[in-house]
Symmetry: C2
Subunit: 207 residues, 2 copies
């Protein structure tokens, strides 16, 4: 599939729209206007929504608005959620443990197939049903299983080293929980999941 | 302090800029051009940076660019990081445990003072030095200690109930880890820390 050219900020909002379609669907709504749709979506107005959705050719109908099931299907397609995505986790500390036991991944097709840590005490210990393996198994596992996505949950001072190994093993996308900026080749996608940064952002609004 | 009017998308990038000033500072840089500054900042170019910083009156000098220490100081000020922010955590499961033991909060002035859970087995059990208290203590604790920020790490089906209690107890800002959209009064700020949404966003870029 030729990649559609969608602005990065729009892509960032698509999962939020998908959550909203789920909510509306479970509320029994079949179609809603853009105004109803953006209710409770923080910082997004109906103009933003219409523009964002228009990038992949989704337009509401005059009067009735957006068809919820259809929009949900389009969002799932654009985010490639119809196929399973295999994920590895590096770092089986407290955050890693939380990720291995996170309930929300499987239903969206994200399956953690392997976890790695360099602490001998953690090796072979299964967490959330996944056996923790030594870090030197990382490369063969990723290559043999053709895994494209990795989550990094190691301390910030080892995050870059881990990222380098992941990239050289063939990983294409990284979700980085370490509070460190990663240097990667341009063809690799990195998304930061930086908890303290989000707290700082929230902090701005308090006065 | 009268709140400066800074666009939400800009505020979202300020913590990233702050991280970058730290990196540059520890590399021994005293000033850098906007081009050097945005290197390794995913999806941000030098025009974005200059525009973002201009909102709070920070301009680079012709030739030498931005003074790192000065910019760091300005970013800390704008994000209100010179004072301590007290935080409560609701939900002491695996993710809550990871948050209670997260090393990066304290150095930025975020101090978790209390954790709440409704599981009797967890009550009084200290995690990361913080004693877990029963949920019915939430309101008096928040009110007595004048706490303004809460992190929600409960299952998604109880997130709205928890948010309602927090708001009625006086919380002003919520960092929500539950994969659910929260309905709150307009004066309350909610930031979503939705891990699966970030994975979906990352997934878009793989093909």
């Amino acid at each position: 599939m030729k990649k559609l050219k969608i602005p990065e900020q729009t892509v960032e909002r698509l999962p939020l729209y998908l959550r909203r379609t789920e909510e509306l669907y479970s509320d029994g709504e079949e179609s809603v206007t853009s105004h109803q749709f953006v209710k409770d979506l923080p910082g997004i107005n109906s103009d933003n929504l219409r523009k964002d959705l228009s990038y992949f050719g989704s337009y509401g109908k005059k009067g009735s608005g957006y068809d919820i099931s259809q929009l949900q299907e389009e969002l799932r397609n654009i985010l490639r959620l119809h196929m399973e995505t295999l994920v590895v986790l590096v770092g089986a500390g407290n955050l890693g443990t939380a990720l291995l036991t996170h309930q929300d991944f499987n239903r969206w097709g994200f399956r953690i197939t392997a976890a790695f840590d360099n602490d001998p005490d953690k090796i072979d210990d299964p967490i959330g049903g996944i056996r923790v393996r030594p870090t030197h198994d990382m490369r063969p596992t990723i290559q043999d299983e053709g895994i494209e996505v990795a989550m990094i949950a190691v301390p910030s001072d080892s995050a870059q080293l881990v990222a380098d190994s992941l990239v050289s093993a063939g990983i294409k996308g990284i979700l980085n929980f370490a509070p460190a900026l990663l240097e990667v080749p341009p063809e690799i996608t990195v998304k930061q999941m930086d908890i303290t940064s989000k707290l700082k952002e929230l902090n701005y609004y308090l006065d």
